[in-house]
Symmetry: C2
Subunit: 361 residues, 2 copies
DNA sequence: TAAATGTGTGTGTGCGGGCACATAAATATT
DNA sequence: AATATTTATGTGCCCGCACACACACATTTA
C-alpha cells in the first residue's frame, strides 16, 4: 500500500524530462514534441496524478472579486439569510483569495435592480452571484456577462436561458408537492384547503405558481380531489384593511377550512390573524425560518415550515464560485438543496448557531 | 477598502523583527523577550492576522494516519453509510495529507471489537474515529488513547466519560420527541401507539431508551396521555417465528392501533409484515434511509423516516479530525446533526448522489 | 551565410508558513 | 577579564505548483 501522493516532479522523473515540460503538457501550453507529450500524458494517467490544489492556489496570489447582487433585507427580511450566508462564506474563503462586493437593490424597484446591475457590470468582477427576481430585466445582463466571460451563479430563483455556472436553490414544484403531503397526512377528514399567495405579484413570480402546481398535483395524483376542496387566494399587506377583509371573507365562507398553505415566507401573517380571531383548528404550513414564523411555530400555530435554507444558498453560491475560480474544479450546474421539513420539535437544528458549518459530501 | 491579507512578513516588518521571531510568538515556542512578544502580540491583534492554512498544510508535508474503528456493514447494513462517508472524506481530504485505515469489527461480537481496538492502538495512528457501541469495553481504550495523546472522535453513539475531541450524531431523546409529534400530527383520533424496539438488546442500547423517553415525554408534556395509549414491545429477528408471533399478538389484541414507532432502522420489517397481512391503516415511523426502508417509504407503507445522516456522521468525523490535525483549528465538542424528517416527497434530496458535498456554515 | 524566427526543453523564483540552523547579544562562571 | 552558557533574534530552505525566463538547436528568411 503505497499511498504516495504523486507530484509533477515524480512524473517528470519517470518521463526523464523536466518539471517544466510536464507543466506545459498539463496546461496544454504547447511547445512540447508530440512524442514526449504522449509519453507524459500516459504517465499522468498511469500514476493517477491530481494537482495539489493548495499549492496551486498558494502560488497564484490573486484576489478574486466576487459581486453579489442581492435584494435589500430591509425591504424583505427574507433576504437577510442569503446575505449572512454570503458573508459567512466570504469570511471562510478569504484565505483563498476571495473578496465579495455586495450590490444591494430594492426588491420592489426594478430601476434599483438595473442601476446596481449596471454598476456591477462596469466594475468587472471575476464572478457574480445573484437572485434574478426580475426575470425580463435580468436577461440582457446575462448576455453581457456571458460575452465578457464572467461566471455567474443564481440562487433562490432559477432562470434556464443563458445557462449559469450553477443554480442553487430549491425545487419549487416539489416543495409544493411536499406541502400537499404534509397537509394530507395531518388531515384525515375531508375538508377545504387554502393556498395563499401573500405579498408577491403572481404574474412575476413563477416559483409561486410552481409551488401551487406541485401542491395541486399532490392531491390529483393521489386521487384526493373528491376529499379535499382546494381554494386559492392572493393577498397583499400593502393594503392592511383589504388584507384582513379578504382573509376574513374566505375564512368565514369556508367553515370546513382545515389547512392553509402559504407559498411565501409570510405564514406568520395568517397565524397572527387566526390567533386574534381565536381560531385554533386550522393548520398552517409555510416557508422559511424567519423570526415571526418561528414565533408561531413554537406556539404551535404553524405546524410545519419548509426550509429553503436561504443562508445555505448564499454560502453555497460563493463556495461554488470559489471552486470554479480558485481551484478550477468543475461545479454542478444545479444544486438543489434539501426540502427540510421543520417543526417545533426539530427547529433548533436548523436555526443557526453562527458556527454551524455547511458540509457537503 | 484595503482587503490586504496579512502575512507573518507584514507583522515582522511592522514590529521591526524577523519573521522567525513572529513565528516563535505565534507558536509560543518561547525564546522571545517579553517586551518584543507583547509588541508582536499587539500587532497581531491589531492587524487581525490569520494564518494561511494552505501554506501551512503545504509546508508540513506530513501524512496523518487516521484509524476508523467501525462495525462491519455485512452484519448490519446500517453501517454501510458511515463507511461511505469516511471514504468520501478520505478522498476529499487526501490532498491535505489524510490517510484512513479502517478497522472493521463484528457489531455482534465483543471479542472482535477488542481485537481490532488492540491492533489499532498498537498501530499508533494520529487520530481515531469510532462508534463506541460496546460501552464497557470501550472505556479502557479511551484511557489508553487519552494518555497517548491521540485524539478520538465518536459518532452515532455518545459516551461522555473521557471527553472525546468531538461527538457527531443525533440527539436521541429529541428524535423520539419529534417522532411523537409526527404521530400526533397524523393521528387526530384517540388510539393506541406502539413503540417497537427491534434487534437490539435494550439493556446495552441507551440511545433506544432515550428515544423512547423522548417519545413518551412528547405525549405527557402535551397532556395527551388520555388520548393515546402507548404500548411497547421488544422484538428480535433472530427467531423469525417468535418475531411474527409476538408482533401478531400485539396487533390483534390492539384493534385501535393507529401508529407504530420503530426505534431502530428496522421499520421495514414491520412494514413488510403489515403488508403481508393487508393492514393499511397503521402508520409507521422509523429511522434511517436503508434500501428496504426506502422501498416501503415509496410505497407509502412507512410515513416518515427520521434521518440520522449516517454518511454525514462518518464524513464529519474525518473532517473534524482533519481540522484538528492539519489545520490546528478548534473543533466543536458536540456536533448534533439535524433531525431530518424524510418522507416519500422529499427523500431524493437525502439519498445521495455520490457527489453531494457536505457544507458547513 | 549570417541573422532572424521558431521549437523544444531546462532552470529559477515566489507564494506563506514552519522549522532547523546560524549568529548575535546578554548573562553566568571561572 | 576571559570563557562558557544561555537567551534572543535572524537566515535559509522546503513544501508543490505556475509561470517567466534562459538556452540550445532547427528552420526559415534576407
Amino acid at each position: 500500500m503505497k499511498n504516495k501522493i504523486v507530484r509533477i516532479k515524480d512524473i517528470a522523473e519517470k518521463a526523464k524530462v523536466s518539471t517544466g515540460t510536464v507543466d506545459r503538457v498539463l496546461h496544454k501550453r504547447g511547445r512540447v514534441s508530440k512524442k514526449v507529450e504522449e509519453k507524459i500524458l500516459k504517465i499522468i494517467e498511469e500514476m493517477d496524478y491530481e494537482p495539489n490544489l493548495m499549492a496551486r492556489a498558494l502560488g497564484s496570489n490573486k484576489v478574486y472579486q466576487i459581486a453579489a447582487l442581492i435584494p435589500d433585507h430591509k425591504s424583505d427580511s427574507y433576504w437577510y439569510a442569503p446575505k449572512a450566508g454570503i458573508e459567512k462564506a466570504e469570511k471562510d474563503l478569504k484565505q483563498y483569495g476571495i473578496s465579495v462586493q455586495q450590490y444591494v437593490f430594492d426588491p420592489y424597484d426594478v430601476a434599483s435592480f438595473i442601476k446596481n446591475a449596471n454598476q456591477l457590470t462596469k466594475d468587472k468582477p471575476d464572478g457574480i452571484i445573484l437572485s434574478p427576481i426580475f426575470y425580463r430585466e435580468t436577461l440582457p445582463f446575462f448576455e453581457k456577462w456571458k460575452t465578457a466571460g464572467i461566471p455567474f451563479v443564481l440562487f433562490n430563483t432559477q432562470i434556464t436561458e443563458y445557462e449559469p455556472l450553477s443554480y442553487i436553490g430549491q425545487d419549487s414544484y416539489q416543495s409544493g408537492f411536499l406541502a400537499g403531503k404534509l397537509i394530507h397526512y395531518g388531515q384525515s377528514e375531508p375538508c377545504s384547503v387554502l393556498i395563499a399567495h401573500i405579498d408577491e405579484e403572481i404574474s412575476n413570480a413563477a416559483h409561486l405558481l410552481k409551488k401551487e402546481h406541485g401542491f395541486r398535483n399532490y392531491f390529483s395524483q393521489n386521487s384526493l380531489e373528491h376529499q379535499y376542496k382546494i381554494l386559492r387566494i392572493e393577498l397583499n399587506r400593502s393594503n392592511a384593511a383589504l388584507f384582513i377583509t379578504q382573509l376574513d371573507a374566505i375564512i368565514d365562507s369556508t367553515p370546513d377550512m382545515g389547512s392553509i398553505f402559504v407559498t411565501t415566507s409570510k405564514a406568520h401573517e395568517i397565524a397572527r390573524h387566526l390567533e386574534q380571531r381565536h381560531i385554533k383548528h386550522i393548520k398552517i404550513i409555510g416557508y422559511d425560518l424567519l423570526p415571526p414564523n418561528l414565533h408561531f411555530l413554537n406556539k404551535g400555530a404553524i405546524s410545519f415550515l419548509i426550509n429553503q435554507n436561504p443562508k445555505g444558498q448564499g454560502y453555497w453560491g460563493i463556495y461554488q464560485l470559489t471552486d470554479h475560480l480558485v481551484f478550477k474544479k468543475e461545479v454542478p450546474i444545479i444544486k438543489y438543496l434539501p426540502l427540510d421539513i421543520v417543526t417545533k420539535e426539530n427547529v433548533n437544528y436548523y436555526t443557526d448557531d453562527e458556527d454551524t458549518v455547511y458540509l457537503d459530501i
